[in-house]
Amino acid sequence: MKRIAIVLILGLIAVGAFAGGSQEAADSVDELGGTITFWVMPNAPDETHMPWIEEKAAEFYELTGVTVEYEIVGWGDAWTKISTAVATGEGVDVFQVGTTWNPQFAATSGLEMIDINEFGGKDAFMKANYDSTTLDGTCYGVPWFAETRVLFYNKDMFEKAGATPPKTHEELYAAADKIIAEYGEGSAIALAGTNAWDLIHNWAIILWGNGGQMLDDSNEKALLNSPEGVKAMQWYVDLVRNGYAAKACAEYNQPQADAAFINGNVAMCYMGPWNISNIEQENPGLNYGIVEPPKGPKGEASFSGGSNLVVLKESRNKAAAKEWIKFLLEEDQIVEYTSSLSKMLPSKKDAYNNAAFDTDRWQLFKNVLSYSTAYAPLGVWGDIENAIVTEFKGVLIDYINGDYTDSTVKTHLDAAASKVDSALGKE
């Protein structure tokens, strides 16, 4: 009896193994047709996003005979879902990745190489966004849209407190002093805390404004624990220590910080263009303005991010997948998708010539994007970001526990730097 069971089990394992091994990726078809699966993040509210994609998919079918099946994948699930697709070579043909994800998934060798000339050449795109599609100089994606952070401020609160929108780090503190004098502690600025996976972006803006760098120019060594790095992180923590931001910010994620501003409780917040649609939806009466991120001692700085479109290497319909990317990047599509749906910024330069972007607000974002910095396109970027965010959280936790001293930031940044160095060693 036992023997029968063992034979059965072994047989099944063997069948499983061979079934897995016999599947080979079919070559891409030359003629367009068939079906492609497209994964896209919730870049706009579902009510407007889904009808738009459906409409465009129908248009694309008319043009090419290719059926696009789309799925909206939340940012929280996307990483795992994509890494599974990359590992198995199944599930999707073309999908959206965050700019820092692009080189990481390229490092798995699960993404299709892209000849950017097919998509208008690299000069057609914002430099930071094109760079984010590369790993060791080879391109593995096409920039779709860009984003950057600016300072949003509440005009009513500023007026009542007699404050003016800040242009420098010092002016931000000065405005914050006036606001907390009028509205009480914690009312000046909303910050993300330990629950924010994107905590690093907030510090990066301040770091670059102070003239600091995360890595050296050759991406071989961490420089983030430099005096500029320490100063930048202390400046951020001091926003809480001085009472400009509520202590409760320590437990916030970025959307919670955004919400505190959007609800009109807090006077300032570093946010991105997509938050404009949040404001329009949740608190259309909010009287707010935007200014460029206040300059640091070494000048202007902001963070450049966004999303790219990539093709799975094992896709059975790569030609159609690339055609779909080309279609989404056509001026009509990209202008509509960014200016009215996602409120992101096109990463294609010529799209800005469109009248839709001819407003002060879009021009401000475009201007900020022109000097924004992107993270280094590295396969090990995930480890680097993880190390920095972990230690940044450590600083905030020390503060909450009452263990914060003058050396806290330096200690944590040194720890982050040593982890980053060991990650860079694996690149």
């Binding site: 795992t80 798995t108 629950n195 409760a248 290497k313 909450i400």
Partner: protein
């Protein structure tokens, strides 16, 4: 003999579907996980994972190496989950036992109360722990409101970050977990023969004496099983930490399940993540071994 064999075959046919399901859902993935734990499988080797370099026990050395970040994080998470268990299991057990003793008495509306007691247990984890997260939030949370109102604190406390985070998760977990233990203990209590108590009463035994000499020893097998089960579940603790604290792995509230999730699926270090998972499997097997041994002892 022939009849016996035929019976066996029939029995085997009946359990075959379950065996197959076990094989595909448990056995093969576990064995694959063990295999991966000996590989240097990360972002670079992901697509050709079968040919990832074999590194023997290196992943196991790394996760217990206090000189490496991954080792420090994993070992601290083991300690965190032990601490969490040392707090949650006894507190939950005492509450459960007290309520079970109360519910074992006859009083009007007993059935309704028994049903109500189970409410925390039957509500979904994700919902309840989200509610608890709101309760502990610094600005709008009920806990701070209450403490401020009665004058115990002067300014809102931060519960979900730092030193108090473990306390808030323990409170929520005890609240969520005790009803089930209570139910098991109650059924144990009902299995104790009333004659024993009657005999003790005739001898003039006090309540405490009866509890110590009858209830506790008679309840011990149930207690033991429930404690072992709690220990096993305790090592799996995930939902409460993930939902209430956002899956932070950098602090005193990182537990192994979170660290494994992070290491394997976020950082894409599958080899290290699998090694951690294998260690957790061994821990759970250890407790399962206790459970089986104690049941055997009982039979003897």
């Amino acid at each position: 003999m022939v009849l016996n064999q035929r019976n066996n075959i029939t029995a085997f046919k009946f359990i075959l579907p379950a065996l197959l399901a076990m094989l595909f859902v448990h056995v093969i993935p576990i064995l694959t996980g063990m295999f991966i734990s000996f590989l240097d499988l990360d972002i670079k080797t992901l697509t050709q994972w079968l040919s990832a370099p074999f590194v023997g026990l290196r992943n196991y050395f790394d996760i217990f190496n206090s000189g490496m970040d991954v080792g420090r994080v994993f070992m601290r998470s083991l300690w965190n989950v032990v601490l969490y268990g040392l707090l949650t299991i006894p507190i939950g057990y005492v509450i459960a036992l007290a309520v079970a003793l109360l519910l074992n008495n006859k009083f009007p509306g007993r059935t309704i109360v028994r049903g109500l007691v189970l409410l925390p247990y039957i509500t979904p984890d994700s919902v309840m722990y989200n509610v608890w997260r709101f309760i502990f939030q610094a600005r709008i949370g009920l806990v701070n409101k209450l403490l401020l109102q009665i004058g115990l604190i002067q300014e809102p406390l931060i519960w979900l970050v730092g030193d108090r985070a473990m306390a808030s998760v323990v409170m929520a977990s005890v609240w969520k977990g005790w009803p089930f233990t209570c139910l098991i203990l109650l059924s144990g209590l009902q299995g104790i023969s009333a004659e024993l108590y009657e005999a003790a009463e005739i001898d003039g035994a006090s309540w405490w004496k009866k509890f110590r000499s009858i209830t506790w020893p008679m309840l011990w097998p149930v207690t033991r099983t429930s404690l072992i089960m709690s220990c096993i579940w305790n090592f799996h603790a995930f939902n409460q930490f993930y939902v209430m604290l956002g899956g932070d792995t950098s602090s005193s509230v990182a537990v192994p399940s979170l660290v494994i999730l992070r290491e394997a699926f976020t950082n894409l270090h599958y080899g290290l993540g699998s090694a951690m998972a294998v260690i957790m499997l061994l821990v759970v097997l250890l407790f399962t071994g206790f459970s089986i041994l104690s049941r055997k002892e009982e039979l003897h």
